[in-house]
């Protein structure tokens, strides 16, 4: 178990951890946004277009944290600065 193996194992574990935690947070936030939008739509169906627009915008804002986690996980896996970034 040389240094390179430890580094690879730590990288894979870190990528999995980053993705898991990021997905949990974004999923919770998006579910809250969806529930609130359903509530608002049921109360005021006339405002459907503006509610839907704000729903999509806020979903994208929240989802971007998960996307950041995905990009960091992919950097760890495919462009890791500590292993020389082997594009494997």
């Amino acid at each position: 178990m040389n240094e390179h193996t430890i580094l690879a194992a730590a990288t894979i574990l870190a990528a999995a951890f980053v993705m898991a935690v990021g997905a949990v947070g974004a999923a919770y936030g998006e579910s809250r946004i969806g529930a609130a939008a359903m509530d608002a739509l049921a109360r005021q169906p006339d405002e459907a277009s503006s509610i839907t627009r704000m729903l999509f915008v806020s979903l994208a804002m929240v989802e971007s944290t998960a996307i950041f986690c995905l990009v960091i996980a992919l950097i760890l896996l495919f462009a890791n600065p500590f292993t020389g970034g082997s594009g494997g």
Binding site: R53, F68, V71
Partner: protein, 223 residues
Amino acid sequence: MELRIFGDPVAFHCGPFPVTETMLTSTLVTCVLIGLVWGVRISLQNAPLSYVSTVASMIVESCDKLIYDITGRAHPELANWSGSLFLFIASCNLAGQLPGVHPATGSLATTSALALLVFLSVPFAGIYSHGVCGYLRSYLRPNPLMLPLHVISELSRTLALAVRLFGNIMSGHLVVALLVSLAGLLVPTPIMALDLLIGILQAYIFAILATVYIGAAISKDAE
């Protein structure tokens, strides 16, 4: 299908400058868009009631109405800018679904350039509507203590714009490539249909966010 995440392969060299595939794709999309719009313009001049002209008018009107809904005023320049952003990003995303074409927005360079344009157009719009002093004063309200937070928020939202678009498009193609290599030919088709929706949605969100940022700079001192 090879996995391509951060790299951007060079297609050919034009003198000392390397020309990457992303540059080729985005230039091609731009040329196709300009050609289409040129045709629509001719059709608008010759037959204002034809099918193509009506659809074009509907697109422009919906852009104008969206800007009016967001900023509370009519801004033809802002509508042009956001509509161009939306059309270019949506075309790039949709062109990525063609076989053999790598989407231009799936590369961090393209999305960074687009986000940088939005970042630069915010002070441009602010100075255009309030003057240099008025725009700089907007950084000091409600309190001069907020200055670092304003600066950080401008920088971080630019980063978020770039990485959001890049991450969404790139991850969609990554999932398709993984499914093709793991499962087979027709398995990723539903995912590709989802990618079509996500491509349009991300272009819409990019344009909406750009509009919101620029609209905030325009109307900062409106009170």
